[in-house]
Symmetry: C2
Subunit: 389 residues, 2 copies
């Protein structure tokens, strides 16, 4: 088989070495998953427990299972209900019970096949089942491909705490097939693009490279279709660019994780650009009004506004961001109908109880100078925040 | 305050450096716990959540809490029911809820005050609450002081799997006050001595040093009281030696953990001497007939017998072991009344499903040459095993 020129392998090199792993990005890689796995599984391993959700199971889980079975693997599928509700200790316990029933041991592996919920939940199960079994991330949404599948943050929600119970636990490898993205509904693609836009804003500070914003902007505007007519709005023209888009995002995230695996030195906090606002927007609407990506874009818009008020970002940069969002069909202001819900004082209260708040002041990652550079600020007075909320 | 000549500090140096920690061994150290903690807590930390059980709470937990409160700490106590039943996900969830209620964050700390159950459970909660909060181990039994509090193995039981859900998560420090041991009932002290005897058997192979067996044997026989008269049997004469006994055990365990934090290279398996037999004895009697230490001693006796049969251990070494056990009041054969329960074929079946079994053959750590040296064997035929069970 000829080498796929679009195949990219990124290294996430961590101390200790046993935590290191690779990210494979290749259109069509799942068509030969059995070969990919063989490169990363130690000889003598036994069973594969693949965890997916009801949505992914039918169009991808079952076929992949059959494919692995006919390649001689002993494979089991566990399907969870689709949605955030599955990211719970109760679902984890069901998976533990299933794993015990099939006799899964530390020599076997788990595979997370799905979006962020499946990835976070499976990662948590892999991290804690018999104190840790090897696992693979196979992200099937853009959001998971560029964000949650890389970095080893695994968790379930607990009571009022999103990601309240979890661990830092790195996979054996992340296997990304960008061909999957062609099957995603527009709204889900846009949810992922929210995080993609975030990477444009932190690229230079995190990796020292530049150019991702321009690349994405050019790709986004390469369409002939009138983006103003919402009925015909499409991102089909972006499809050929996704291998490169995903690669750049993973490269940035990998660089950050390499420098700060467990959020100890602070570099990892750059990934939180827009997220303090986003979490407040999500929580105040009880996670019903926005996808995470939509909330992140709103958060970045607020971060730009704040930077402008502080005099650290020229308005022209905010305009470039707004223009990119328009090309991608991403909203930068909440819908009017939500105005009564998004009460500034309440939003501020939620932001203060966020993990990133410390001593009453909230820690913000803010764009500075130009798109690509960020800084950390924890000295923003409440009045300034209330004025922009 | 003059320096306590009995104070010892052992270093557990791990990669990455952030996993490294110290073991403090000092008679009376809890009398100044507030000072000890200050050395290991980063400035700006807030709350302390101390977790203990109903037994320890009354005689130690409450007084320590008052002591820390009057030193200015914001301290909370969570008390779990005494016993193995508390080592469950359900109890962990109760602790998570309590931690959320008091607003515990990643800047705060947890303290495990108790034996192995409290230590393993608290460690698991600390490992997973918000992906990890700092925690301290304060072991209050001999077994916990020499074994479970050191090494970062944390877990709860799940369904049929003992320690089925857990993690490797190192504490900030292990704080050992050997004065506590004077309050332990004889049976609990003996439970810990089972693991102490184990360290005699692995010392040379693990650390290259020798002499622990002779030290312990001399200490054990330094009593005038007739050890044959069970009514007056006492280990009071051992008390002055416990700082040194605990130190040596922790030193051996620390050396092993430094070389093999997560049971990856195999060295850590030496700690399992006698444990494959022990787990089978414990499981077949539904954890009701033996303390873990008692089962370990029975397991070591079986391991000696097996080594003798394989011709790798002289009988004189087994006799030395038997004589030591007699001095310490440790039984080396199960009581006659249990004979019908300890069915050889059943024991063999349990040993085969143990984590340490692989491909039908069981992996044994066996004494070789003389007490202090061990080897790994996974080639023992079932017939040989059945003949000694």
């Amino acid at each position: 088989m000829p080498l796929n020129p679009l195949k990219k392998i990124l290294d996430v090199t961590l101390p200790p070495k046993s935590h290191s792993y690779k990210i494979l990005i290749e259109p069509g890689s799942l068509n030969q998953l059995e070969k990919v796995l063989q490169d990363y599984i130690t000889p003598g391993f036994g069973k594969i427990l693949m965890i997916t959700d009801t949505h992914v199971s039918s169009f991808l889980g079952q076929p992949l299972l059959a494919q692995l079975k006919s390649a001689g693997f002993e494979t089991y599928l566990y399907t969870i209900p689709e949605g955030e509700g599955s990211k719970s200790l109760a679902t984890a316990e069901n998976i533990f019970s299933f794993a015990l029933d099939i006799g899964l041991s530390r020599k076997d592996v788990m595979i997370a096949l799905g979006g962020g919920v499946v990835g976070d939940l499976t990662g948590f199960c892999a991290a804690t089942y018999f104190r840790g079994v090897p696992y693979f991330q196979i992200p099937t949404t853009l959001l998971a491909q560029v964000d949650s599948s890389v970095g080893g943050k695994v968790a379930v929600n607990f009571s009022t705490a999103k990601n309240g119970i979890g661990a830092f636990y790195q996979p054996q490898a992340v296997i990304i097939d960008t061909d999957i993205l062609a099957h995603l509904p527009l709204k889900q693609l846009q949810a992922g693009l929210g995080e993609v836009v975030k990477y444009c804003f932190i690229e230079n500070t995190c990796t020292g490279t530049t150019g991702f914003f321009n690349f994405l902007n050019t790709a986004a505007n390469a369409s002939d279709s009138p983006s103003s007519d919402n009925h015909s709005f499409s991102l089909a023209h972006l499809m050929p660019k996704f291998p490169e888009i995903v690669e750049t995002c993973c490269q940035i995230k990998a660089q950050v994780v390499i420098q700060d695996e467990k959020e100890e030195s602070g570099i990892r906090s750059f990934l939180n650009l827009g997220h303090t606002f986003a979490h407040a927007y999500e929580e105040i609407t009880q996670y019903k009004a926005f996808t995470h990506g939509e909330a992140v874009v709103l958060g970045i818009a607020k971060a730009c506004q704040l930077s402008e008020q502080l005099g650290i970002l020229p308005h022209s940069e905010t305009q470039k961001f707004q223009s990119l969002c328009q090309s991608l069909g991403l909203g930068i202001t909440p819908p009017e109908t939500l105005a009564p819900t998004l009460e500034p004082l309440q939003l501020l209260r939620l932001m203060k109880k966020d993990k990133k708040a410390s001593g009453g002041f909230i820690r913000f990652i803010l764009p500075i100078h130009q798109i690509g550079e960020v800084t950390i600020r924890d000295d923003i007075p409440d009045e300034v925040l209330l004025s922009i909320l």
